[in-house]
Symmetry: C2
């Protein structure tokens, strides 16, 4: 059973402030927690129903973890999700051990704000083996519960670095820097080197002025609407997916 105090305490992690101060974040649901258990991430607390605890053959021993049994209603009280879950975990954020690497396809995010888009982009990055994701300081926090859930576990696998994008670019002198642009070159026929940085901008405003100056090549995803009106743009995660797909297609590694 969860005490009222514990419920209150765990709910504080719904707020970014607490997640940042305590360096912990929430992971929920069987699928996500099973992915979590396959990682070396340190779990602070795991709250689950008796049914979940008895039916699981966990991927690793939970001996060092505080495991609390709770009812579904109690889990609902500490959940960030609408649908009832069987399991909830409070997890320590990984340290800063990720080394910046300038090789391969790098995705740079300039002010991505929507948690669903951020999670979906991490999932795309994971699928296409993006070597790392660089986030500008004004991106949505990747430990936002909506990002974590939308990433479908990719957050545990994709190397994410935070900082000034120009500083990263300065350390990647041999990489070409690309961005999507309606006036850009047709992505289907453009030259797309294996060592490239693909920059995706904010949902409403696109790239910031400073980042625009750094772009060396603009790419356009052709629209095939014959005549008449069509959508002005694609969703940023969808555009990222198509561009990553093209970078991978033309650099097929067997």
């Amino acid at each position: 059973m969860l005490s009222k105090n514990k419920i209150k305490h765990y709910r504080t992690f719904h707020a970014k402030k607490t997640r940042e101060a305590e360096a912990k974040f929430i992971v929920e649901g069987t699928k996500m927690v099973e992915e979590l258990l396959a990682t070396p991430l340190k779990i602070d607390t795991l709250v689950a129903t008796d049914e979940w605890l008895s039916s699981r053959h966990c991927g690793r021993l939970l001996s060092e973890v505080e495991v609390l049994s709770a009812t579904e209603a109690e889990i609902q009280a500490i959940s960030t999700l609408q649908n009832p879950q069987q399991v909830w975990a409070l997890v320590e954020k990984p340290g800063n051990e990720i080394q910046f690497s300038s090789r391969g396809l790098i995705l740079a995010l300039d002010g991505i704000q929507d948690p669903g888009n951020m999670g979906t982009i991490l999932r795309i990055a994971d699928w296409f083996g993006v070597s790392q994701v660089l986030c500008s300081p004004d991106c949505v926090e990747i430990y936002n519960p909506k990002v974590v859930q939308a990433s479908m576990g990719a957050i545990f696998r994709v190397p994410v670095l935070h900082g000034n994008l120009q500083d990263f670019f300065a350390a990647c002198t041999h990489s070409d820097i690309f961005a999507a642009d309606l006036q850009g070159e047709n992505v289907y026929t453009a030259i797309l080197p294996a060592d490239s940085i693909l920059v995706m901008g904010n949902e409403g405003n696109g790239l910031s002025a400073e980042i625009k100056k750094c772009i060396q090549h603009k790419l356009h995803i052709p629209t095939f609407k014959q005549g008449g009106e069509h959508s002005e743009s694609l969703n940023v995660a969808v555009a990222a997916a198509i561009l990553c797909s093209e970078f991978r297609r033309v650099n097929l590694v067997v």
Copy 2:
């Protein structure tokens, strides 16, 4: 000013039941309403702030439309969105005048449930000039406000038909029927005819058993993660985007 009764009445359109009984749906926000005004769709009621009404040069005369002035707080009370909007419209659903066409790239949706995914898929269909979108009866309602908003106006432009997918397939005998499948052929090297039906399945369960039997070709989007774990799948809208992009790339119409 909106009366309490009007507010109560307009709020009933948040529910699918009312939208179906009255054959009307909600469109909100400046961008979406401007797109709406560029269509021939019949607007039942337009509710806007004085500021919005005085600053707009509407794309068509609003003489046949009931236009109501309201405060931002009143619009918030009838809104389905979290952020305050300046304009809200109640719109008549288009009739069933869409003629089924068996030509070009057709997208068939088998039980797409998430409104965000549905809206994003409509936006993708619009971008890539998909000739029509076929929705199985268990798809989320396309006039769900979240679908409308996520479509970014594509809902006004993409021909959507509802019905039994097998019946549509039976009327498309010259089209090849494709679906995404982890065991499928590499989409980058597969033959992708211009007249094709691409079927996308439910987010959690994939294709239904009856539809699976109709699939003639399975396509796989290669994952490029070198070793180790990676995401099991891509989001359904992301996968649809990459597949549509490939169908268009290999059938480039100049």
